[in-house]
Amino acid sequence: MTINTLFFGIVMDITGQRKTTLTFEKEMTIGDFQVYLLKKYPGLTDIKNFAFAVNESYVKEDYKIQENDVVAIIPPVSGG
């Protein structure tokens, strides 16, 4: 399964990337994906919290990621 992943704000600084494409053998929920990301980018544990958006909408941890979904990691927002 291919997951297109977008990084923003401090997460972009920590990963050193704006986006990446990751491939997995089995199906994953957002919760699984979060565990994977925290292993791959240990610096992410320094952030207060982060949310996930799939195809430009917020999703919860139990969302099952679909082939070619665009998954965005959303660090704490600070607009306004």
Partner: protein
């Protein structure tokens, strides 16, 4: 719904008058506006400038949701929510929210709801630049 809502995410300087003119209506009795301004300090440290970045398409969607909910939830006529991305200097305006209504209480409530929700849900990030470094606002515990 569309003629009641104006949502903008822009790299250009915000125009407050444009927001006012959008929501102004001969049947409305009052307009409440919130204008954000870039402060020259954070927790006692002098801020030199700051930069807003956004997940642009999702930010526009979330801003639109806020505007639509405000129209549904409060007895208001029109709402404009305009936000800047890019580099800003002290005194510059990152956000303007204008709400028109027959009843001013509804306009106050809707305007406050919109800015409160914007600061919670819209994927926009602020980086503050100090003399000795830079910080992503809200990012750390």
């Amino acid at each position: 719904m569309n003629n009641k809502i104006s949502v903008l995410l822009t790299y250009e300087k915000l125009n407050q008058q444009k927001c006012y003119d959008f929501v102004q209506d001969d049947s409305c009795g009052g307009i409440v506006t919130f204008t954000g301004t870039v402060r020259n300090h954070t927790s006692g440290k002098e801020v030199k400038q700051l930069e807003f970045s956004a997940y642009n398409p999702m930010a526009v969607k979330e801003l639109t949701k806020i505007a639509e909910k405000a129209i549904k939830r409060f007895d208001i006529l029109k709402i404009a929510i305009h936000h800047v991305v890019g580099l800003l200097q002290i005194g510059d305006i990152p956000v303007v929210i204008a709400v028109s209504s027959s009843h001013r209480k509804a306009a106050f409530e809707a305007c406050e709801y919109a800015i409160d929700t914007l600061k919670e849900t819209v994927p926009i990030w602020k980086k503050e630049f100090f003399e000795d470094g830079e910080v992503w606002v809200n990012a750390h515990p």
